[in-house]
């Protein structure tokens, strides 16, 4: 996400950084570049104008130009202003003090509301262990109710639905009654996609809002929307008085103009970002962290959070013991791999590491998750004995494992070789000896590396 914008801003700023002293004309030139970069990214032109104005004023302040490292100061200011543009340190959903918290979802057709409903339900369940229910109020699009029932089922949320013959306002009110009686913590109301110029449907949305008095109204916005995003957001702000935005499809190569403009135009923050096909690909939006990512400064905070969410402390301790005693098995390797993969696709994780954006070879690389699937399949085709003691694996066992995992015997060999080298290295580490660089090289060279494809 934001790749092109990110590239241009980073190029401009590295030029600024390389200068020992900054003159006013240097700052002017940098501002011009930033302005162009933002306009190309579909950011609303009024927003761009205001943004570069503030930026320039701050950069020309005496404490910047006179400082020892003006380039560094400018980068800091751009980072801060970019974060402020997207909403500062981030905002939270409002929760009810008693009874179910009601969240109403609205948006254009195809912006991703139904998927966002399920993802949000999953997110709230995972994070707060809350009992979340969904209400199916899209009675217009064929099979919208079925879709919500299916995805709701997948994330373990109860779905209140009355088919497509009832009135959406009535369904919403009825679902709220049910949620109250059944003591749900959260009720998320899905609505039909509607054009902001469709008077009747916008009125219906306002009616639902009046009837159920939601604690939060969220507008789902497609990250690929162009200059039209601002008009859409303004109309929805009027009819639905939304409180925050869910930015969907952020995993594409959209330049993110919508994401950067919406807060500035409507004053409503982006609360969540949806970043992939899977239901887990949904997270809180942190403007400050996103700004750092755009500027190539990485997002270590999010990475740590993700790791903390996914990695079980007890398991980690067990593993440490095993490593010390050199009892690490293929079974443990499988568990490890699964934990890392739970954090999301590897390409996403790489994006959070500082400086990764600047690494050319990783730039357009696409890590083939299929390779990891293969390793998993191979280990899963082994018996518990084989996993604990891979030396057992000889001719016929190897053949069976290859057949079972749909791979070839040489793939099985490769994996075992890689695992052996890993064990050797761990023994070294555990015994406190320094690592032999040659061994390290051998390990990375001899192992089946994830295939990196260039686009």
């Amino acid at each position: 996400m934001f790749d092109q914008l990110s590239d241009r801003l980073q190029a401009t700023l590295s030029d600024v950084r390389s200068r020992g002293k900054l003159s006013e004309s240097d700052v002017d030139a940098a501002m011009r570049e930033i302005r162009l970069a933002l306009l190309e990214a579909d950011v609303n032109f009024k927003v761009v104008k205001a943004f570069t104005k503030t930026l320039k004023e701050r950069c020309l302040g005496a404490d910047v130009l006179g400082s020892l490292d003006p380039g560094q100061q400018v980068i800091k200011i751009v980072n801060e202003e970019l974060a402020a543009l997207m909403g500062g340190t981030g905002s939270e959903l409002a929760f009810a003090s008693s009874g179910p918290t009601v969240i109403l979802m609205a948006g254009l057709q195809g912006s991703g509301k139904t998927t966002a409903c399920a993802k949000l339900a999953r997110f709230l369940r995972e994070e707060g262990k809350k009992d979340v229910a969904l209400a199916a109020c899209d009675v217009y699009r064929p099979a919208a109710v079925e879709q919500l029932v299916t995805v709701g089922g997948r994330v373990g949320a109860h779905v209140y639905e009355k088919g497509t013959d009832a009135d959406p306002v009535e369904i919403a009110a009825w679902a709220l009654e049910q949620a109250k009686t059944e003591r749900r913590d959260v009720l998320i109301v899905d609505t039909a996609g509607r054009l902001h110029v469709d008077k009747d449907l916008m009125e219906e949305l306002a009616d639902i809002r009046k009837r159920i008095k939601p604690h939060d109204v969220l507008l789902v916005v497609d990250a690929m929307t162009g200059q039209d995003a601002v008009g859409v957001a303004e109309s929805f702000a009027e009819a639905a008085e939304f409180d925050g935005v869910v930015m969907s499809k952020l995993d594409g190569d959209a330049r993110g103009g919508a994401a950067l403009s919406v807060k500035a135009v409507t004053g409503k923050p982006i609360l969540f970002a949806s970043t992939g096909e899977k239901l887990e690909a949904f997270d809180r939006f942190h403007p400050d962290r996103m700004a750092s990512r755009i500027l190539g400064m990485g997002d270590v905070l999010s990475l740590i959070e993700k790791a903390e969410q996914q990695i079980d402390e007890k398991q980690a301790l067990d593993l440490e013991q095993k490593l010390k005693k050199n009892q690490f098995t293929l079974e443990d390797m499988l568990q490890q791999m699964r934990q890392v993969r739970k954090m999301g696709p590897l390409s996403g994780i790489l994006g959070m590491l500082p400086g990764m954006g600047a690494m050319k070879q990783l730039k357009n690389a696409d890590i083939d998750e299929g390779q990891l699937d293969r390793v998993e399949a191979i280990i899963l085709s082994m018996t518990p004995e084989e996993r604990a003691n891979p030396t057992l694996i000889k001719g016929s066992r190897r053949k069976r494992i290859a057949n079972g995992s749909g791979t070839r015997p040489q793939h099985v060999n490769q994996l075992i070789k890689q695992f052996d080298q890993m064990r050797k290295m761990m023994r070294h580490v555990a015994s406190g000896k320094a690592l032999d660089p040659q061994q390290l090289a051998q390990m990375s060279g001899g192992a089946p590396r994830p295939k990196i494809r260039r686009r």
Partner: protein, 249 residues
């Protein structure tokens, strides 16, 4: 385009008056929009249409509308293939449209191989002697290489089964899409040899100006436009109307 207009005004070909310049500008825009224009090819027996596009751009709805027009207005028999086996209830959605349009539906369970569904749909159409088969696919972001590969495979399956097919591959583009639309068209064209664009959701405030860039740079014309949620809301693309709408307030 603007350059071309400036040249013509300077050369005196177009009088330097507001109305005349605007009229000429509309002509130029319409000319670009009409690049590589061709009608939808229904000559195959059966004619195979493949629908592709990013998530939420209106593929399934468009298929419903096309099926309705073909069967109700042209009296053709239509088979629909529910190739979106990924999204929950996508096949149910298409089933509803098939029902409204009086078309037959070929579907498989969720998670099935979309190539297999495409194969079955074409096979069913051949066996029954249907005139047209339209194959739906799951929405996918053009940045997801593995999903784009899958799309290329679906296309290969169809070609293998019926040489020359798919006779028409249509890409749906949401009119509200910004500059990203050009990237979408470029990458989808590489993976699935797109013949034409269906510009959807034109009933909002968005005008879909990005299709000009698509026609100009990639030579892919807009063939149909979607203007609403009912079966009738599908029209052939008219370059002059489009150019007029682009410039109107």
């Amino acid at each position: 385009m603007v350059e071309r207009l400036e040249h013509e005004v300077e050369a005196g070909k177009v009088p330097a008056e507001g109305d005349a310049v605007q009229a000429r500008l509309i002509e130029i825009l319409a000319e670009v929009a009409a690049t590589a224009r061709a009608p939808i090819d229904l000559s195959g027996e059966p004619a195979v249409l493949l629908m592709v596009g990013v998530n939420g751009t209106g593929k399934t709805t468009t298929i419903g509308k096309i099926a309705w027009h073909l069967s109700k207005e042209f009296g053709l028999s239509v088979v629909l293939g529910a190739g979106d086996t990924y999204r929950a209830a996508a096949a149910e959605q298409l089933a509803e449209w098939a029902d409204r349009a009086g078309a037959e539906l070929v579907r498989a369970e969720e998670g099935a191989d979309p190539g297999a569904v495409a194969f079955d749909a074409v096979e069913a159409a051949r066996v029954r002697g249907a005139d047209v088969v339209i194959i739906d696919t799951a929405g996918r972001l053009h940045t997801q290489t593995n999903l784009m590969d899958e799309l290329a495979k679906v296309r290969r399956v169809i070609t293998k089964q019926l040489p020359g097919a798919p006779h028409e591959t249509l890409l749906s583009i949401d009119a509200t899409t910004g500059q990203n639309g050009l990237r979408q068209a470029k990458i989808f064209a590489e993976a699935a040899a797109v013949d034409g664009v269906v510009l959807t959701k034109l009933d909002g405030t968005a005008k879909g100006g990005i299709v000009l860039a698509i026609a100009d740079e990639l030579g892919i014309p807009v063939k149909l436009i979607g203007t609403g949620e009912t079966l009738e809301d599908l029209r052939p693309f008219d370059p002059t109307d489009f150019a007029n709408a682009l410039l109107s307030e």
